[in-house]
Symmetry: C2
Subunit: 370 residues, 2 copies
C-alpha cells in the first residue's frame, strides 16, 4: 500500500535472536534457550503459595455466588508475574526472612494482583468482552451492573491488603497507582480513533496501564524491606522498564499472533481504534504517512456510517504491512532497549538467585509468544 | 386490595409530630420548627470550605474533559452531610483546633464524600440512570465505559485522601467500608424481585448502603481526634443509628413523594424489584400476605413476558396501600426509634454546640421531605 520501504524483516523470525541474549541479560542467562517461568520463580515458591491463599480466602460473610465467582476469577489468573516481582524485590534486604515483614510483603503482592484483577474485570465490561484467557468473563455470565460491582469489591479487597502493609508510603503508592491506571484507561478511550495523536500519548498510556503497577510491586517491596533509597529507585527503574517492555511485547503480539493464540483477530487494538507502537513505526517508516492517515480517517467515517467492511479490510492490510515492513522489528528493538535498561537497573544489587530471577523475567518477556 | 386493616394514618400528616420533637432530641432542639441545615453546620463552616476545596483540587495532569466532569460531579453534591458528620465528631477532643490533626480530619471528610460520590456514579451506570439531583448524570453524557472509569478514579482519589489521614486504623476502616458498600449493592441486585426475602435482608442492605459510611465518618473522626474507646464507640453508634434512619426515611419518601419532587414515579424501588421497609410493613399489616406475594410474583412473570402494564398497575396500587394503611407510619416510627438511639449515644459527650448540631441532624433527618 502506501509504504515504499523495502521489506526488511522476515515475518517468522524468532522473537529473540539467541546470539543477542547475552547482551540483554548481561551474561547471566539463567537457562539455556526458552525461559521456564516455574523454574524462575522457584526461589519464591512458598511466598507465591501464601499470596495465592490470601487472595482466595474470601470473606465468609460474602454472599455465595459472588464468593464462587471471585475464586474463579482469581483462580484463572495467569503467571502471577506482579506478585513475583514484589516477592523477589523484597529479598534483597532479607524482608522475606523476617516473620513480621514477610506478612506485609505478601499483603503487598496480593494487593497488586487484586488491583490488576479488578482492572481486568472492569476492562471486560468496558469492552463488552465475553472471553478472557479463553474462559468466559464474569461479564458474560452476569449483568454489566453486577460486574462493575464485582470489580469494585476487588478494588476494596486490594485496598484492604494494601492497608495491611502498615506502611503509609506503600499505601500512598497503591492509591496513586490506582488513579494512574484509571487515568490511563480514560486517556485510551479518549484517544481512540485519533490517528494524529502523538507517540508520547502511547508511552503515557502504557506507563499508566502496565508499567505503573509493575513499579508499585518492585518499589513497594523495596520500601517494605527497608532498602536504602538508591536501591528503592533501582528496583523502581527495573519495574518501570520491564513494564514498558512487557506492554510493547503485548502490543506486538496483537499484530503478529493468529486468531487461535490471541482468541481474537490480529490487529484488534487498531480495529478498536487504539494505536500502539508497531503502528507508530509503520507510520514512521511510511513514505507518505499523511496519505495513510487520510485513508484511515476515511475508512473510519465509512465505518461510522455502517460500512464496517472497508474498515476491517484496511486494518487487515495494515496488519500485514506492520508484519512485513520492519515495524514489528523496530518495536521489538525498542522493547529490548527497555529490557536492557531494566537489567542495568539491577547492577548495584547483590548478584544472587533473586537478581537472576529478575533478569530471567526480562528474558521471558522478550520470548513471550502469547 | 388484600389488606383488611383499617386506614389508620392520614396520608398528608406532617412527617414530624411537633409534640414529639422533645422526645427525639432530648429537649435540645436547636431551632424552633424546621431545621435549617446551613445554621446547623455553622460551627464547622470553615472545615466544610476546606473539604470542598480539597475535593475540587483535581490533579493538573488529569486530562481536561475528565477534570471538568469531576468538578461538575463534585459540585452538584448535596448537603455534604457525611463530611459534616466527620468534622463535628472530631470536635469533641479538639482535633480541629490542632493544626496537624486538622488536615487529617479534612482528609477523612473528603475521603468519605468522594467514596459516596464514586458509588453514586457507578449506581447511575448500573441503573442506567440519566438524571440525578435533577442534573444529567455523567452516564447520560458519556459512554458507560467512561463512567465506570470515572467512578474508579473517584475511588482512587478517596483512597488517596484516606491514606492522608496517616492512621492505619482509619485506612483499614475506609477499605472495609468500601467492601461493605459493594457487598450490599451486590446483595441488593441479588435480592431484586425476591418477594419472599426476610426483613433482615433489608436491614443488612441499608447498613451496607448507607449506615456503614455514616459510621466510617463519625468513628474515623473519633479515632483521629484521639477520643477514648468508649467515646469512639458512642460516635460509631450515633453514625450507625442515624444512617439507618436516614435510609429508612429515603425509602419512605420513595413511596410518599410525587414525581416532581422525586424526579421519578413514586414506588420506583419496588418497581425495580427492591423491597424496602414500608413494603415489609404493608406485608405485616396485611391479613393475607401470601396472596399479596402471589399477586406480585404473577405480575412479575407477566412483566418478564412483556406485559409490563399489569406490573406497573400493581405497584401503583401498592404505593396507595402503603400510604394509606399504616405502613408509612410504622416505618416512620421505626426511623424515629433509630434516631432516638442516635441521640442517646451522644449522652456521654460534652453538651456543646457540636453535640447540638449532631442532634439537629437527627431532627433534620426526620423532617426531610426530599
Amino acid at each position: 500500500m502506501l509504504l515504499s520501504q523495502p521489506v526488511t524483516s522476515p515475518m517468522h523470525r524468532p522473537f529473540v535472536d539467541t546470539t543477542n541474549r547475552s547482551v540483554l541479560v548481561g551474561g547471566h542467562a539463567p537457562t539455556n534457550g526458552a525461559v521456564d517461568i516455574v523454574q524462575l520463580f522457584a526461589p519464591i515458591r512458598s511466598g507465591l503459595v501464601q499470596v495465592e491463599s490470601k487472595m482466595r480466602a474470601t470473606d465468609s460473610s460474602l454472599f455465595a455466588p459472588l464468593a464462587t465467582a471471585f475464586v474463579n476469577l482469581i483462580g484463572s489468573g495467569g503467571k502471577r508475574l506482579r506478585p513475583a516481582l514484589a516477592l523477589l524485590s523484597a529479598e534483597f534486604n532479607g524482608a522475606m526472612q523476617s516473620t513480621k515483614d514477610h506478612g506485609r510483603v505478601v499483603a503487598l503482592a496480593a494487593s497488586v494482583e487484586m488491583l490488576h484483577t479488578a482492572t481486568l474485570v472492569h476492562d471486560d465490561v468496558i469492552d463488552g468482552a465475553l472471553l478472557r484467557r479463553g474462559a468466559p468473563t464474569l461479564n458474560a455470565a452476569w449483568s454489566g451492573g453486577s460486574t462493575v460491582l464485582a470489580g469494585n469489591y476487588l478494588f476494596g479487597t486490594a485496598a484492604r491488603f494494601s492497608a495491611e502493609t502498615n506502611d503509609m508510603r506503600v499505601i500512598g503508592l497503591f492509591s496513586d497507582t490506582l488513579r494512574t491506571i484509571v487515568d490511563g484507561e480514560l486517556r485510551q478511550l479518549q484517544d481512540r480513533f485519533n490517528f494524529r495523536q502523538s507517540k508520547a500519548n502511547y508511552y503515557d498510556r502504557i506507563y499508566a496501564k502496565t508499567a505503573s503497577l509493575f513499579c508499585a510491586a518492585t518499589e513497594g517491596a523495596a520500601i517494605l524491606s527497608g532498602l536504602p533509597e538508591e536501591r528503592v529507585r533501582d528496583l523502581r527503574d527495573y519495574g518501570y522498564n520491564l513494564g514498558m517492555a512487557f506492554q510493547i511485547v503485548d502490543d506486538i503480539l496483537d499484530f503478529t499472533g493468529d486468531e487461535a493464540s490471541l482468541g481474537k483477530p490480529a490487529g484488534s487494538d487498531l480495529r478498536q481504534g487504539t494505536l500502539t507502537l508497531p503502528f507508530f513505526y509503520l507510520l514512521q517508516l511510511s513514505m507518505d504517512p499523511s496519505a495513510l492517515l487520510q485513508q484511515l480517517e476515511a475508512a473510519q467515517i465509512d465505518a461510522d456510517n455502517g460500512n464496517r467492511r472497508a474498515w476491517h479490510d484496511l486494518v487487515d492490510e495494515i496488519v500485514w504491512d506492520v508484519r512485513t515492513r520492519g515495524a514489528v522489528e523496530a518495536a521489538r528493538n525498542e522493547a529490548r532497549s527497555f529490557l536492557r535498561r531494566a537489567v542495568e537497573a539491577l547492577a548495584s544489587l547483590p548478584d544472587n538467585s533473586y537478581r537472576r530471577a529478575l533478569q530471567g523475567i526480562c528474558e521471558f518477556t522478550v520470548q513471550r509468544t502469547h
